[in-house]
């Protein structure tokens, strides 16, 4: 894989009067990866993407796209980009096929080339049957798919996706996620903004958490989880009250910290992974039945809450609001 960064953002800042929307952020995107910007509404995600694509002028900082200074040579940089806005901004009266052909023409593609590419994308995005229908007759999920198809019609080096699954049903969102991963597997670099944790967790190779215009953490899902992990936790549900068992179990497993959770649930926390056999042998010797044993793992949502201090309930509210 080519390791030259395709996007490099350095000390990017955007202020509107006294309000700082984006506050000196820096990051880079490697070729062939899906890089996600995760943050609540108003965190600065769209402002950042708008500065990168040339729709907003940065107050400070630099942006290079495939080595091109995107502020000095905006049109050159835009030729390398595919851009999918957070709304489906195609032409209602035109058919899906005509919309794709028109978008291709904006990048100078010739008639035969754009028509064959449009047919190929309609097929790839399972929209071939609807290709001649006007865009206004498409469902929300179909509209998002066609908008993404329009974004990649000219074979961009990098695709910018702003909130791709917002406002669409669960099945369409699943299909879109599959399509995005498929695009990545075919070599497209993707920059995606989202406030859906599951989108970021399922499809992104690397994620940046952005809050109040600042990047507070960047890394792969595993790296982010590792950074917040305080050890391994084994959770057991037995037939006996956990409080009665905790002290005895603590004496047996000295290197670990045993605590009683509610009811008959026990947690064993250790720096290293906890082998199951000695634990089960202990309970077997005591004649205590174990109903359930599982390793507790941090979710990306837990990590997000720990790092950003934003309650998961707040994001849930945003999800519900966005889905309306």
């Amino acid at each position: 894989m080519d390791t030259k960064e395709i996007v490099n953002v350095s000390n990017l800042k955007k202020t509107y009067g006294d309000f700082t929307a984006v506050n000196g952020i820096s990051f880079s995107v490697q070729p062939g990866e899906i890089f996600g910007f995760l943050g609540p509404n108003g965190a600065g995600k769209t402002t950042t993407i708008n500065m990168m694509i040339g729709l907003t002028k940065p107050t400070e900082g630099s942006i290079t796209i495939d080595g091109i200074d995107a502020q000095k040579h905006t049109k050159k940089a835009q030729a390398l980009m595919g851009i999918v806005a957070d709304e489906s901004n195609l032409y209602d009266e035109m058919s899906g096929f005509d919309n794709l052909c028109f978008c291709a023409s904006l990048y100078g593609m010739k008639k035969e080339e754009r028509e064959s590419r449009a047919r190929q994308l309609l097929e790839q995005f399972s929209l071939a049957q609807a290709g001649n229908r006007p865009f206004k007759a498409y469902s929300k999920g179909m509209r998002r798919k066609l908008t993404i198809a329009a974004g990649i019609i000219h074979y961009p080096r990098i695709l910018f996706l702003d909130e791709p699954t917002t406002g669409i049903d669960v099945e369409s969102a699943r299909q879109l996620r599959e399509l995005i991963v498929d695009l990545k597997n075919h070599g497209t670099t993707i920059f995606i903004t989202t406030h859906y944790i599951e989108d970021a967790e399922r499809i992104c190779d690397r994620i940046a958490f952005i809050v109040e215009g600042k990047i507070v953490a960047t890394g792969t899902v595993e790296e982010l989880m590792e950074s917040m992990s305080s050890g391994h936790t084994l959770q057991l549900v037995t037939e006996q009250d956990a409080q009665e068992l905790a002290d005895d179990l603590q004496a047996r497993f000295e290197g670990s910290k045993v605590s009683a959770a509610k009811g008959n649930t026990l947690n064993i926390v250790s720096k290293d992974r906890i082998p199951l056999l000695p634990v089960m042998q202990y309970f077997d010797q005591k004649g205590i039945t174990v109903y359930e044993a599982k390793e507790l793992r941090l979710t990306l949502e837990d990590v997000f809450v720990k790092i950003t201090g934003i309650e998961s309930g707040h994001l849930e509210k945003e999800k519900a609001g966005a889905g309306k």
Binding site: I53, G54, L55, T56, K57, K75, K76, Q78, A79, M81, I83, A85, E87, N89, L90, Y91, D92, E93, M94, F102, C103, S105, L106, Y107, G108, M109, K110, A150
Partner: protein
Amino acid sequence: MSTWIAFWNILKKDMKNYYLMPSNVNWGIFFPVSWTLTQFIRSSGNIDVLEFLPGLMAVSVLFATTSMLSVTITFERKGRSFERLLLAPLSLNALLLAKITGTILFGLFIASVPVLLASFFVSLSGVNWGMAYLSVLLIALTSTLIGLVIAVSAKEVFEAQMMSNFFRFPMMFLCGTMMPVQKLPALLRIAAYCLPLTYGTDILNRSITGASALPPLACIFALAVFSAILFGASRYTINNKWIS
């Protein structure tokens, strides 16, 4: 080559989606017809077609072009499809020229409707068609650019329509389309010469009736200056207000 492909396809899309829509074509026919009928009734049938024709052509082009471009761009901007055009690797000049070319062509079509109507009532053999259509082109260009200035300033379609009327109605009364500018009071005459339509109507008058207040070259120069200012103002607004 790639700029030309984009230019041509934007023009083709606008023609198909907006200008060749039956409602707009019908408007282009009914507007001059109803205007002519109004004048015909007002003058009890004693209408001098040749004297009436330049004003009618100028007003038709003014009304068609200012509203069409301002409404279509505001509409596209609201639906964010204009953002797609702005983000394409196409210079802003080429994009704006593609958008205004469709409107100018629509203006040329609208101007031809009164000509066709007039040909049934009077001989048009004395008309200098080259000069007539040059003036129509210049009227269409400046009116379209007024529409562009409105489009880049308005946020809503109704706002664009309201602003179009703010420009159009004073121009209709001041610019020699209904009465010669020379008959206006001195202050209004000054105001008239601050408006591009006055110069376009003057050349159109000369090409159809042979009478004009100013030399055609002076009018062409004035219209070129207006066009450059309006185009520059639109570019500035997009660059500084839309991409801010």
